[in-house]
């Protein structure tokens, strides 16, 4: 059954340039899907349309049978609690502790006041520690986030997304600022999220090999249009060239 359906999605920031054009795809629950494409293709924009961090102009997005475009403020908040998000630059609050940052993921479930006063239940805190331990950074729970390495910070970001108990996690280039070793750790964790916890993952990636290695399915985006949608095996060199435009061929291989 499909968790996410995107139909005829279109987006433009300014009148003269269409960033996304007639995007159609479906994602099944528990799938691990990567989106690849050249810089400026509109990957980040597309991801942000799904939880309406960016308002789209045309088309429909159905999440869990719910029309995302027509949600009011309260409905939108509810939607966002069901969708976790992981960012390239981790987007943590640098001066707060790791554990506080993880617990920020619970705000969607709280009233404004509970959130402001930092009223978290013991179950939530236990859960936060459980997740930190699962991602192997429990020792750092009381450190300030800016004292952690990039890879560790990204794991905190993942914990923050997971504590939301989301059905879907959107990742915008989660490994673009990391070294190969940390990248592998992060990707392994993301993969296990989808296989073990059954959470659907939609990941923007720049590295084709990484996408091929981890994904159930790959979507190729070029200039605001989907030019490829299939499994890693179907992604031939010719298709890659098509996604990135032929001129960059040598770059990708290198």
């Amino acid at each position: 059954m499909s968790l996410l359906t995107v139909e005829g999605l279109g987006k433009s920031y300014t009148a003269d340039k269409q960033i996304l054009k007639n995007i159609n795809f479906e994602i099944k629950a528990g799938e691990f899907v990567s989106i690849i494409g050249p810089s400026g293709a509109g990957k980040s924009t597309m991801l942000r349309c799904i939880n309406r961090m960016v308002e789209f102009n045309e088309g429909n997005i159905l999440f869990n049978q719910q029309d995302v475009g027509s949600l009011n403020k309260k409905g939108l908040r509810k939607l966002r609690t069901n969708i976790g998000m992981v960012f390239q630059h981790y987007n943590l609050v640098p001066r707060l502790t790791v554990i506080e940052n993880v617990l920020h993921g619970r705000f969607g479930y709280k009233t404004t006041f509970q959130g402001l006063l930092g009223r978290y239940t013991e179950e939530e805190k236990e859960r936060a520690f459980y997740l930190l331990e699962k991602l192997g950074i429990h020792e750092h729970a009381y450190k300030r986030c800016d004292q952690l390495s990039g890879g560790q910070q990204q794991r905190v970001g993942i914990c923050r997304a997971l504590i939301q108990e989301p059905k879907l996690v959107l990742c915008d280039e989660p490994i673009a600022s990391l070294d190969p070793n940390s990248s592998k750790i992060i990707m392994d964790h993301l993969k296990s999220i989808s296989t073990e916890m059954g959470i659907t993952c939609l990941v923007n990636l720049h590295q084709v090999e990484v996408a091929q290695h981890y994904s159930d399915r790959i979507i190729g985006l070029n200039n605001g249009e989907i030019v490829f949608n299939g499994t890693a095996y179907e992604l031939t060199q010719e298709k890659i060239n098509h996604i990135y435009g032929t001129k960059t061929k040598d770059l990708i291989i290198a």
Binding site: R77, H104, T112, G115, L116, G118
Partner: protein, 261 residues
């Protein structure tokens, strides 16, 4: 740098220097300031200060009274700064591009801050004095009015600097506006803001002397009184007390700043 740009450069510097000299001359003329005479009075004035502005034995009798007024001034400055900081926090959040609710309120907040900052503290003092009379509240309000403008501008800058990225992340979790401001923005800028508040406390203690002279409150009033009575020994003692206070406040806030930033 080639010959031509160098010559142009020198030419510009020359013009600039000339303008400065003309302005200096005009300023001296309009204020009837005589540079030579002015400089010549410095040694004389210093001599006068070291021979007359001395703390004497009997001036110490006035110490309890002075300390009482000094305490009033310090409390007045702290209260004005703290209350202004609370107001500025709201204005700063409304005014900053990161956290603004809408453009109208943002411009409104910046406008209020700009007016309050650019009307000099003396004007506030004199205006308030007319109806509030000679008491601490007048001084408090005058300091408050100037401080709101200054702190709002500083807070807007701090909030603008705080990363937009954690705001984005919290929005994506479904957090409300106030949760985002309270838990992502303020924790990031709080140390910077407190640093500004401490700076303002120190500035306000100095300004309070000025406000006090005009509104007849606190240590400024005491200073003015003995100054007009030509009792320079007490004047010296008051000055000394103010210097010590400001230096202590400065040392404390430097320490706090070092630890929190």
């Amino acid at each position: 740098m080639n010959e031509k740009t160098m010559r142009k450069h020198r030419w510009q510097s020359g013009i600039f220097l000339l303008i400065l000299i003309v302005l200096t001359y005009l300023s001296s003329a309009i204020t009837t300031f005589n540079f030579m005479e002015g400089m010549a009075t410095i040694p004389e004035a210093m001599g006068w200060i070291f021979s007359n502005l001395l703390v004497s034995q009997e001036s110490f009798e006035k110490l309890p009274k002075i300390l009482e007024k000094l305490a009033e001034t310090i409390f007045m400055s702290i209260a004005a700064t703290t209350i202004a900081a609370v107001v500025s926090l709201f204005l700063g959040v409304l005014g900053s591009n990161t956290t603004k609710v809408n453009n109208f309120l943002s411009v409104f907040a910046r406008f209020i801050a700009s007016v309050s900052r650019n009307i000099p503290v003396v004007a506030w003092s004199l205006i308030l004095l007319i109806s509030f009379g000679q008491n601490s509240v007048t001084g408090f309000l005058a300091l408050f009015a100037g401080t709101v403008g200054f702190l709002t501008r500083a807070f807007i800058e701090s909030i603008d600097e705080a990363s937009q990225s954690s705001v984005e992340a919290l929005t994506a979790t479904g957090a409300t506006y106030f949760q985002i401001v309270g838990k992502a923005v303020i924790p990031q800028c709080l140390p910077q803001m407190i640093s500004w508040v401490l700076f303002m406390v120190e500035t306000n203690i100095r300004n309070a002397t000025l406000v006090g002279i005009l509104t007849g409150t606190g240590i400024g009033y005491t200073f003015d009184m003995y100054y007009k009575m030509l009792n320079y020994n007490v004047v010296a003692l008051i000055t000394l007390c103010i210097v010590i206070t400001v230096i202590i406040v400065d040392l404390i806030s430097n320490y706090v700043r070092k630890v929190i930033l």
